[in-house]
Amino acid sequence: MIASPQRLYIITGKGGVGKTVVSLAFTRWLRQQGHDATHVTFGHHRLQDSSAPTRENPLAAWADVPRWALDLEESAEGYISKRIGSVLAAKWIVRTAFFRALVNMMPGFSYVIFLGRLLQAMQDQPQRVMVLDAPASGHALAMLEATANFREIFGAGAVYEDTQKMISKLYDPAYTGVRILALPTQMAMQEATELREAVAQIAPFDARIFLNQSLEPWRVALEGAPLALRAKLEMEREVRARAGDIPAIPFSAATDPEELWRDLSPAVAGLV
């Protein structure tokens, strides 16, 4: 077992950088190291009037790891019932049109509910490591900021104390790690750097950038390729030269899950 990983890994980055695949592979790797790791996603951040089916990511099954898709309604209910000491009243509150409209109007609120539920579960299970397949950049910022925003909104009282408690975990770099994935282009790298800076403005997070879908291992294969394709490699090289020593996860052309796992597992170890 590797030495004390963080308890919560938040995997983020722009849309389409490969958060889902990487976070699944990382969860699988942690489990192989003997950690009780779970892959976590946040469900729809709206309280639906009817329960709309959520699409299952076709990739989710391949990693064969425990997965937990948090449900907003269940999370809100769980928290409220604990706070006011009544499951019935909590059920009623969550179903009032008023509460629904409030939550739907303020997506930040739903992030606090999700994170609160997640941190609560982690407290109940002190061995568990959670890998959060987090929303993309801007929304990840909203998510990370939300707890502080709502602490400020509440100002005092029991909910304030709770958000304070959440913050002491969430914003603790020994507890929470933020892993930002970027594709190996200048623009993507710059955006990742901006995200890391924005994250640092919120709290002293342990936030690190990883280049995903690196073509470097394909250098030989690309030797005879048209100039334009080899330019992709050069772009990656420039990004690395400029950004310093950034760890990379290779591009995988795998056609089956086991091959994908072989391609990714050595690299995702670096996320820890």
Partner: protein
């Protein structure tokens, strides 16, 4: 279906696919043809911001740019608006005659750049810009959502919040609070006077866990929002305008690299409900033309097959259900100016397709 420009050109999709660059290129192309264009964008990368001549200090302001990079100057300047939630709230407060809206503590926190109200505020800002008038075309780069349709849900959110079920609550707040100049002890008075027993119960639960001070702040925020409801609800007007005949183009932007083939195809049905005239799928960063010049063996063949199969799945799968598929090639340069220039050229070609 041609690509004649329309009054509203909406770009949506998850981030990281070049949505902002593609929207900028569209605005540049339309302005270069002599049209009066407004580009509304939310979060361009710094280098694109530099190129558009924007600084963070100009957030929330309409900035006319006479030319883009070293392209020839436009006949009429291209207006660029870097959206800023606090500025939008400020304008809403002014237009509704409710200055408290921009002073309210809770509204202020929610209107922070990452406070989570971006979609709603973008719709309202769009409406305000439209009212200000004078544009042939407004190009809107919507806030990226974790799900493709997040931006469009802004409409539903406004509707739900000002739903008839709340009118009573708000009306009650309005009568009791607006008329009787709000002072301290407000929450206590209000809670006592609420007609709806449900609301009273809800607030008493709230007070139990948050304390009376928050409940008071909260009620004040609701009341202020309700008084300024006109400014929110007019955002709904956009729905009618956007769906009017020939009023808008919708571009769902995705990229081959992003590989979200399933998600892009799954959206077709939902999109039809929102944009009855159809949604264009703009596929960015296509490698096909370059890949077809390459006949590698071994690992190279594997790499090529992997890239090509994703791209083909996307382009082929999207042939039905979308108003059209617009492919844009991957631009192999680090310069955002060259990117925009090349993509603007792509838009020009698609117009003639």
């Amino acid at each position: 279906m041609g690509l004649m420009p329309r009054p509203f050109e909406i770009f949506f999709g998850t981030g990281g696919v070049g949505k902002t660059t593609l929207a900028t290129a569209r605005a540049v192309q339309l302005a270069a043809e002599g049209r009066r264009v407004l580009l509304m964008t939310i979060d361009p990368a710094k280098r694109l911001k530099d190129l558009l001549g924007l600084t963070d200090a100009q957030a929330g302001l309409v900035v006319p740019i006479p030319r883009f990079g070293d392209l020839p100057p436009f006949a009429q300047p291209l207006d660029v608006l870097l959206m800023s939630a606090p500025h939008t709230i400020q304008r809403m407060a002014e237009s509704a005659g409710v200055p408290e809206l921009s002073q309210n503590r809770i509204v202020g926190v929610l209107a922070r750049p990452n406070g989570g109200m971006n979609e709603i505020l973008a719709l309202i800002e769009l409406d305000m810009r439209f009212q200000a008038g004078g544009y042939d075309c407004v190009v809107l780069d919507t806030p990226p959502g974790p799900h493709f349709l997040d931006f469009l849900e802004g409409l539903d959110k406004i509707r739900a919040f000002f739903d008839a079920r709340f009118v009573e609550i708000f009306a009650s707040l309005g009568r009791k609070v607006v008329d009787a100049a709000p002072t301290r002890g407000l929450a206590g008075r209000l809670v006592g006077k609420f007609v709806g027993a449900g609301v009273q119960k809800l607030l008493s639960y709230l007070e139990k866990v948050t304390g009376a001070a928050f409940v008071e702040d909260f009620l004040q925020a609701l009341q202020v929002i309700y008084r300024a409801r006109g400014a929110f609800v007019r955002g709904l007007e956009m729905e009618r305008r956007l769906t009017a005949k020939d009023a808008s183009h919708w571009f769902l932007v995705t990229s081959v690299e992003q590989g979200k083939v399933d998600e892009a195809l799954a959206i077709r049905r939902d999109a039809a409900a929102i944009a009855p005239q159809g949604v264009f799928l703009a596929v960015n960063k296509c490698l096909g033309p370059v890949l077809n010049e390459w006949s590698p063996e071994g690992d190279g063949a594997k790499l090529k097959a992997s890239w090509l199969s994703k791209e083909q799945a996307l382009l082929e799968g999207a042939r039905t259900g979308f108003a059209g598929v617009l492919a844009f090639p991957e631009i192999f340069t680090a310069s955002p100016l060259d990117h925009v220039r090349a993509l603007a050229e792509g838009w020009k070609q698609h117009a003639h397709d």
